[in-house]
Symmetry: C2
Subunit: 126 residues, 2 copies
DNA sequence: AAGCTATATGTAGGCGGCCTACCTATGAAT
DNA sequence: ATTCATAGGTAGGCCGCCTACATATAGCTT
C-alpha cells in the first residue's frame, strides 16, 4: 500500500499518508544518514529517499531547519564548500551526534517494540 | 533504558522520554486494545500500560478526547453503563473501526520498516 | 470523621515539531 | 529562452498531544 510521507515538490502525495508519523524520529533519521559520512542537505534528502525505497520524501522545509537545529545543538558540524559553482553546506556527525544517534537507536527499538506489541500480532493471520 | 511515555498523574516521568513519539500512532493503539473486546476509557489506559510493560502510561487528557474523536469518526460506538455506582462509557469497535485498525497495522508495518532501515542496523554491533 | 487513594470521566488552553508555501541562485539540457 | 535538477533558505500555520484542572463515588486508613 502506497504510503509516501511527502512530496518534495508539488502538492499532496498520497491518500493514505500520515505526515505526523515522522514526529520525534526525524533527528534520528538524519543522524543515521550522516553516520555513513559527511553529506550536504540535498544529498541527505536523497539518501533518505533512496534508503527507504522512495517512501521517505521529506520536503526541504523540513530537513534544512532540522539540520540547523542539530548543528546548534552540537550534534552536527557544518562547513561551506563550493562544488561546481554551487554552494554546499556539508554536515558531519560530531562526537555528541554519534552519542545522540545511539540514544535515538535505543529509543526507537524500545518504542517500536511497544507499538509492535499492539499493532503487529494479527498482521498476517486472517 | 527507562523510556516511559508519560505519567498519568503528577509531573514529568523520565529524563529520556519523548512524548511526541506516539504522534500519529495513538489511534492505532487504542483500536488495537479494543480489538480484544469492549472496554471503557480507564480500562483502555490500563490495558495500554499493561501490554507495554508500563512504558505506555498515557494521561487521561490524551485518551478521553481521542475516544470521543474516534467515536465521532464512527470507528467506535460508546454506551453508558453503571457499575458499582460509577458511570462508565464503554466503547466497542465498529466495523469501520476494524477496517481502520487494519489500515493502521499496514501503515505501522510500512513505517516501522522504513525507520528500521535507518535506526536498526548498527544496533547491537559495536 | 477526616483524609487519602483508586476508580472514572471530562474540558480548556498551550506548545512545539513538522509542513506548506514561498523565495533565491547556478548549471545543464531542450 | 525556458525548463529542470541542484542547492539553500525563511515565515507562518496547523494540529495532535499534553498540562492542568475540575468533578464525583467507593473503599481504605488513621
Amino acid at each position: 500500500m502506497e504510503y509516501r510521507i511527502r512530496r518534495r515538490r508539488g502538492y499532496v502525495a498520497s491518500l493514505y499518508m500520515k505526515p505526523d508519523a515522522v514526529r520525534g524520529h526525524l533527528d534520528g533519521l538524519i543522524l543515521a544518514v550522516l553516520e555513513d559520512g559527511p553529506r550536504h542537505g540535498y544529498a541527505i534528502i536523497e539518501a533518505l529517499a533512496a534508503r527507504s525505497g522512495g517512501r521517505l520524501d521529506l520536503p526541504t522545509g523540513t530537513v534544512y531547519p532540522a539540520l540547523r537545529r542539530l548543528e546548534r545543538a552540537g550534534l552536527l558540524s557544518g562547513t561551506w564548500t563550493t562544488v561546481g559553482g554551487r554552494e554546499r553546506r556539508t554536515y558531519t556527525l560530531t562526537r555528541a551526534g554519534k552519542h545522540a544517534l545511539a540514544g535515538q537507536r535505543a529509543d526507537w527499538n524500545e518504542f517500536s517494540a511497544v507499538v509492535d506489541a499492539f499493532l503487529r500480532p494479527a498482521e498476517g493471520t486472517p
